[in-house]
């Protein structure tokens, strides 16, 4: 008799506890998208990211564990514009999951509202392993981040309409947070407008356009092709000609060539920047990633300008 009561109690606890209700399983390609989905959909989703923060998206190894995650998920969220070419298409080819295949109902491409930058005028692999649809690193601009959130909310609430009302305030607040962060950072970078920067891998125009900086060139003169001696020589000439004195190198790339170039050009500052959430300590959310990224560049730019002019370039509020 006692055992029967115990069973009833346990059963009632399980039935009453909403945490045992089935959660929506979402797989994202990047940790930034994971953070966005978690902020928008909150406790109703379990999110896993295939890529880790420090990884280079061109060199993500296709692990069998990806196939398990993708086979078990309800929705797949990607950057889009072929950003995940190294690991998503091959993984999708190996699994039975028609509804998360590219273009299918539960495949959420967050680049839908993005105006692509750096679209190649000619598709020719002789010019490098191009991003044929334009720069795919869309998440590095908080403005794009907001538009990515819009896609996530629209598609997720379309797929799960029963949650739409619940997610709406979370989504709106998150968008407001990103917007406020962006406005704050615009103020923070004031005084560094026109700062000339060399990055390693193409696709950074989204960021430089947002914060009124100038993307001078890339260490990879041909996208995806390790720089050859002639490419390096060409970059040195460009930097000298443009008087560019800042190299912002994504943490997933070696500093060997940038340091050599900096030495040859002379008086060049080389900094490492995060390219994703979790890429550096302290960047454990999309917002902190954007903040760290922009402030690292702005601070370096300020230091350079101060050295060049001899006058301190004050931060906003100092």
């Amino acid at each position: 008799m006692k055992f029967r009561y115990l069973l009833i109690v346990i059963l009632m606890i399980f039935l009453a506890n909403p945490s045992y209700a089935r959660k929506i399983k979402v797989v994202t390609s990047t940790p930034d998208l994971k953070d966005m989905v978690e902020n928008i959909c909150g406790e109703d989703v379990v999110v896993e990211s295939l890529m880790r923060g420090p990884e280079n998206h061109h060199a993500v190894p296709l692990k069998p564990s990806f196939l398990v995650k993708l086979s078990r998920c309800d929705a797949l969220v990607v950057n889009g514009l072929e950003y995940e070419h190294a690991f998503i298409p091959g993984a999708l080819l190996a699994i039975n999951k028609p509804n998360i295949q590219k273009g299918a109902s539960h495949y959420i491409d967050t680049s839908k509202y993005i105006k692509p930058c750096e679209i190649p005028s000619k598709i020719d692999l002789g010019l490098g392993d191009l991003h044929p649809l334009g720069g795919s690193h869309i998440h590095i601009d908080p403005g794009n981040g907001i538009l990515m959130c819009k896609v996530i909310y629209e598609r997720m609430s379309g797929l799960y309409p029963e949650y739409a009302e619940k997610w709406k305030p979370q989504y709106e607040n998150y968008v407001r947070q990103i917007y406020a962060e962006m406005q704050g950072l615009k103020e923070y970078v004031k005084g560094t407008e026109g700062l000339k920067i060399v990055f390693y891998h193409p696709g950074w125009t989204y960021l430089t356009d947002r914060f009124a900086w100038i993307k001078t060139s890339y260490v990879e003169q041909r996208s995806g092709i390790p720089p050859t001696p002639s490419h390096i020589n060409h970059l040195i000439k460009i930097m000298r000609g443009e008087s560019c004195t800042l190299m912002a190198i994504e943490v997933c790339y070696s500093l060997k060539i940038p340091k050599y170039v900096a030495k040859r050009v002379g008086n060049v500052k080389v900094i490492q920047i995060p390219h994703h959430a979790h890429a550096l300590p302290g960047c454990d959310t999309y917002l902190t990633f954007i903040e760290t990224l922009v402030k690292l560049i702005a601070d370096a730019g300020r230091e350079i300008m101060q050295n060049e002019t001899g006058y301190p370039v004050r931060k906003q509020g100092e």
Binding site: Y5, I8, V9, M12, I13, A16, N17, E43, R52, P54, N56, H58, A59, V60, P61, L62, K63, P64, S65, V68, G90, A91, L93, A94, N96, P98, N99, Q101, G103, A104, S105, H106, K112, Y113, I114, K115, D129, G143, I146, L147, G158, P169, E172, N173, Y174, V175, R176, Q177, Y179, A180, E181, Q183, G184, K186, E187, I225, T228, C252, S254, Q316
Partner: protein
């Protein structure tokens, strides 16, 4: 205790089991909204001047200009409207890719709801309906210290050109085809593979590199060295008699199965895949085969009117374990039963272990893979017209492929194997290769190998009278490989 009291006690557990009652007094959305408002307010107060050009900035600029003393207003700014944010950030409609223009049609909405494909992103580009296509070209220069019968091994050749196609046929099936050749053209792979069976089940049928062992599915040009290890050629490949019979022994170096494979992803948290396969035949014993030349066509072997016993059956399992972010282990175990008749049955077991180190931060520059695979073969041969001989043979190989930086990698290979047809004849090999990759699609490789005395070839020579092997030799290879177009690989 009376039943009512028991029920009350039971019900009292429920509130404690609900997280919302377990101490979180403020609903997360409200809390987040307040935090956002505070952040926005702080930002606004700290920075009254907005970025020029934005709607909000223009509005603030106008407000500040209209104020006589140009002092910022002290009243609280209105709550930021999402419409304003999107108006500021959204590109004009004509700047967006075509598929995102306009509103979703009713048909598109229905297609989305029922899980069908949406309209293609580039509907004006009909070629996208064509299969993905790619071409691989493999050029090799081989020089050996062999003399005599094998001296023509010193040559520069286009070893192989490979034309591959793949595409979804419909929502249920994908198709793959690969045509290869150098002097002669052949269909190396052509198969259909299901894409929407339930319970993570996949079936493929046709002609393909079978899921057997660690490297059998890997195309030759994707190996970390020039060709398949000796042990793998011996147990998975099929020896080919040369037409002019001047030299011996050439191999189809890996097993191309004709049959059906069923693959099932076991519902576990880690990767575990099971395989069951049926192939027409694992060992080529047909007319004109090396087997037929070496031993004669076995009695009872049939290529027509086959019974179930005349097929080959395979079982396999693959596990993959992640040991942290940078390290992983893969285990492959396979067994195949090949019995055209009981007198000539053959079984082969394979066990492979692969350790992989792939650092998160520097995966582009560093990495290492170490693999070891063991083959155990049990086979009954027709020694003479009436005598049967049981023979157990085995082989092993191991390699390390180490990435030196984003262009260079070095690999070391060693292996030893007994000859499948003659356990008394063994051979071993060692080799090393240095690969240089100017880009992802282009590789140049230098390899040096030492192949032990050709006991295999001597064995064949003693049996069927072909020229004997020429003893141990060194081999120097320059390989130049490039890929054009689409060339996608799944995990292998």
């Amino acid at each position: 205790m009376n039943p009512v009291a028991r029920m009350l006690i039971a019900l009292s557990f429920i509130p404690f089991a609900i997280p919302l009652y377990a101490g979180q007094k403020e609903a997360p959305p409200e809390k987040a909204e307040k935090e956002a408002q505070i952040l926005i307010q702080k930002t606004r107060n700290a920075n009254r001047a907005e970025a020029p050009g934005s709607p909000a900035g223009i509005a603030q600029l106008q407000a500040s200009q209209s104020s006589p003393d140009n002092e910022p207003e002290k009243e609280e700014t209105p709550k930021l409207d999402l419409e304003d944010i999107f108006q500021e950030l959204m590109p004009a409609e004509e700047e967006l890719p075509p598929a995102t223009k306009g509103k979703e049609t009713e048909e598109e909405a229905i297609a989305r709801e029922v899980g069908q494909y949406e309209a293609p992103k580039f509907p004006w580009f009909p070629a996208l309906l064509s299969p993905y296509m790619g071409v691989m070209i493999d050029v090799a220069a081989q020089f050996t210290t062999q003399e005599g019968q094998y001296e023509d091994a010193n040559r520069i050749d286009m070893r192989e050109a490979e034309l591959n196609f793949y595409s979804n046929v419909d929502p249920f099936v994908r198709a793959f085809a690969m045509v290869t050749g150098a002097e002669e053209v052949s269909v190396e792979e052509a198969y259909l593979q299901t894409s929407s069976l339930p319970h993570d089940l996949q079936v493929r049928g046709g002609k393909f590199f079978a899921n057997l062992g660690r490297l059998n599915k890997t195309h030759t040009h994707d190996l970390p060295f020039f060709d398949q290890p000796l042990a793998m050629q011996n147990f998975l490949g099929n020896p080919q008699p040369e037409e002019d019979q001047e030299v011996f022994l050439s191999y189809d170096p890996q097993y191309m199965g004709k049959g059906v494979e069923a693959l099932w992803l076991v519902p576990t948290d880690f990767y575990w895949r099971l395989l069951f396969a049926i192939y027409n035949e694992f060992s080529d014993r047909g007319l004109g085969s090396f087997y037929a030349q070496y031993l004669g066509i076995p009695g009872g072997f049939r290529s027509r009117n086959r019974g179930m016993n005349d097929f080959s059956y395979s079982l396999g399992s693959r596990w993959f374990f992640e040991l942290g972010d940078d390290h992983s282990i893969r285990v492959d175990a396979y067994g195949i039963y090949d019995a055209p008749n009981d007198d000539l049955r053959r079984t082969l077991e394979m066990l492979a272990l692969t350790y992989r180190w792939y650092p998160l931060e520097y995966g582009l520059y560093r990495g290492m893979e170490w693999t070891i695979e063991i083959f155990a073969n049990q086979e009954r041969f027709l020694e003479t017209a009436t005598n049967l001989e049981d023979q157990n043979t085995w082989g092993i190989y191991s390699y390390i492929d180490y990435k030196l930086d984003n262009r260079f990698s070095i690999s070391l290979l060693g292996g030893s194997s007994q000859f499948r047809f003659d356990g008394d004849a063994g051979a071993w090999q060692v080799g090393s290769a240095l690969s240089y990759q100017p880009s992802e699609r282009h590789r140049i490789r230098l390899q040096i190998s030492h192949i032990d005395e050709q006991e295999w070839k001597d064995s064949v020579s003693n049996t069927i009278g072909l020229p004997a092997g020429d003893g141990a030799f060194w081999e120097f290879i320059v390989q130049w490989t490039a890929v054009m177009g689409s060339h996608m690989h799944t995990y292998e």
